[in-house]
Symmetry: C2
Subunit: 350 residues, 2 copies
């Protein structure tokens, strides 16, 4: 793996990569460890906590906005234009953050925008993987219905764990693996409803597609972490800028293919509402939070964060939309909570 090669060079070169190693050692819910670590580690742990909590709340409110927009009626706008705007907004926010940093710290090797082809060549790959996954999404509905797909999407949890440990060569303890299986089972349990059993009748091509999509999604996440962590000292806003520029390019192509006529006839912003604007804003912020979690934490934290967000969403929906919580939800939430505890309790001794 290219990631490993460059990681090793970092190790030869200095202490930067060690920072990241130490950072991982502090752990996901490392409240207990904080008292034993120096102030610098504490600052890192705080940063990690802030980005994780931000991702959890942004993901949770994202799901709530989706329910809200569905209640308000069908999507009237072109999804591709919204996606393009999300990428554009993320780019703009990264540039704004960079401008502030340049003002306070000056332009350095680590925060300058210009780059080498060698550094930037890998940045379009995650965007490309997500594009392929999204294209497959249209075809899987020939084999699975929408609630069944929601259930199968939990395979992402397992695929992310497996690819994370294989590709990034990071070891999870046996207890942490058990916790990861529980996370997948718990999330699925929490989403059970009377029609969930249909998913067991999924045909072989349906299963294969679901597994391929889970692998694509897991690989995209792990690959993003790899390229963001390849140069730990590199400013995250520069890395984000190049990631999102790729996203803008791919989404521009998607507009041309899917919605060219609609945009030409009805305009780029046709059908936009306040909810649409809020959703674009939310998606942009969530996207940045994901990058931050990849930089300062890892894919495992990301998976836990979005899983907890799913539970939060359900609880908030009780108050906002009068949803009822099922017994399955309580059981699933219990299993997810125990999983979070075990992930922290099962940390490898270093």
């Amino acid at each position: 793996m290219e990631y490993r090669k460059i990681k090793d060079e970092d190790n030869d070169g200095g202490t930067l990569s060690n920072d990241i190693e130490n950072l991982r050692g502090i752990g996901f819910s490392g409240v207990a460890s904080v008292s034993n670590v120096p102030p610098r580690e504490q600052a890192k742990w705080k940063r990690k906590t802030v980005v994780t909590v931000a991702l959890t709340f942004l993901t949770s409110s994202q799901a709530i906005l989706i329910v809200w927009s569905k209640r308000a009626g069908k999507y009237e706008y072109s999804v591709t234009t919204a996606n393009f705007l999300v990428e554009t907004l993320k780019c703009a926010l990264s540039l704004a953050a960079l401008a502030r940093i340049w003002k306070s710290e000056g332009v350095t090797e680590d925060n300058r925008l210009s780059t080498t082809l060698d550094e930037v060549i890998v940045y379009p790959i995650p965007a490309l993987l997500y594009l392929v996954k999204n294209l497959l999404q249209y075809y899987i509905f020939a084999y699975v219905d929408a609630p069944g797909y929601q259930i199968l999407k939990n395979l992402n949890i397992i695929s992310t764990g497996v690819l994370y440990s294989i590709i990034l060569k990071k070891k999870l303890s046996d207890i942490q693996w058990a916790a990861f299986i529980l996370l997948c089972a718990g999330c699925t349990t929490a989403q059970l409803n009377s029609r969930s059993d249909h998913v067991l009748q999924t045909s072989l091509p349906g299963w294969i597609m679901a597994i391929v999509m889970a692998l694509l999604s897991g690989f995209a996440g792990v690959y993003t972490e790899a390229i963001i962590k390849k140069r730990p000292s590199r400013n995250i806003n520069v890395q984000n800028f190049w990631l999102y520029i790729s996203g803008m390019a791919f989404n521009a192509i998607a507009i041309l293919i899917q919605d060219f006529d609609a945009v030409m006839n009805k305009g780029f912003f046709h059908g936009y509402s306040i909810i649409t604007t809020l959703m674009i804003l939310n998606h942009a912020l969530s996207g940045i939070a994901v990058s931050m979690v990849m930089k300062y934490a890892d894919n495992i934290v990301k998976v836990y964060s979005t899983s907890v967000a799913m539970l939060l969403t359900a609880v908030v929906s009780v108050f906002l939309f009068g949803f009822n919580l099922t017994l399955a939800f309580f059981l699933g939430a219990t299993v997810v909570s125990v999983s979070v505890y075990l992930h922290s309790a099962g940390k490898l001794q270093r």
Copy 2:
């Protein structure tokens, strides 16, 4: 607690109680530890495994016999006479085992049947507790339906764990506690069906009764373990004999109260079939297996054993009765399996 007092005396008196302590150290699924322990410990571990596996299969086939007898029609016989026969059979089997031991080893202080009032006075208590629990069972159905009661019965798992650690003063590690919560959540998940959500509408008196019943059941189990382990060198068949004599007495009273007229008019064995006979045989053997697990293992092993039996029953029912396994069952079975692993992995270091 009386149990503790006598346990302490044992410690003062010699090594017998230490045997039991060591036995516990070998653990529930201690395959990994076997290679490091002396032959005597290995023999104990084997005995523990045999009784645990026996209990699992007997409990599993018990549930299958119940389904079978329900399919064959309603209960035509008096349940109280069947219960009385179960206790009588257990008594007879204990005496038969004792007779063989007396022949081979002679009568010793540990295997003689005669006893002191001080030893025997506590033996009716578990039988009495179960009687009270079974009486309550008639009243709880005013508040909960039968499927809801099946779900609520999983509270037994938690009550057994809590009472086990409080009364027997045995420590479970944090991971083992997490595993125990998972066992309860997993068993409940595996039993979920479309009507399970009713249980969330259970009224306060229903919840209180369910919790009281769980505590009674858990206390009866833990108390049985306490009196059986009070004198570790005492032959288990003598202890069983006195336990089951109490059971016979209480069930004789139950016949007089509930089924006196039916027995007088239609005879003691009215409505007995082959299935009834098999069920009585199975209940007797399961009862003896429970005592053996209490003697050579503990209540925690018993709970795991009966939980795994529940899963086995469901799988066997697919082949025997054409039942369908639900997605909830697979998720629950996954969580229970991880729980079994964690119980073993989370063993306290000694």
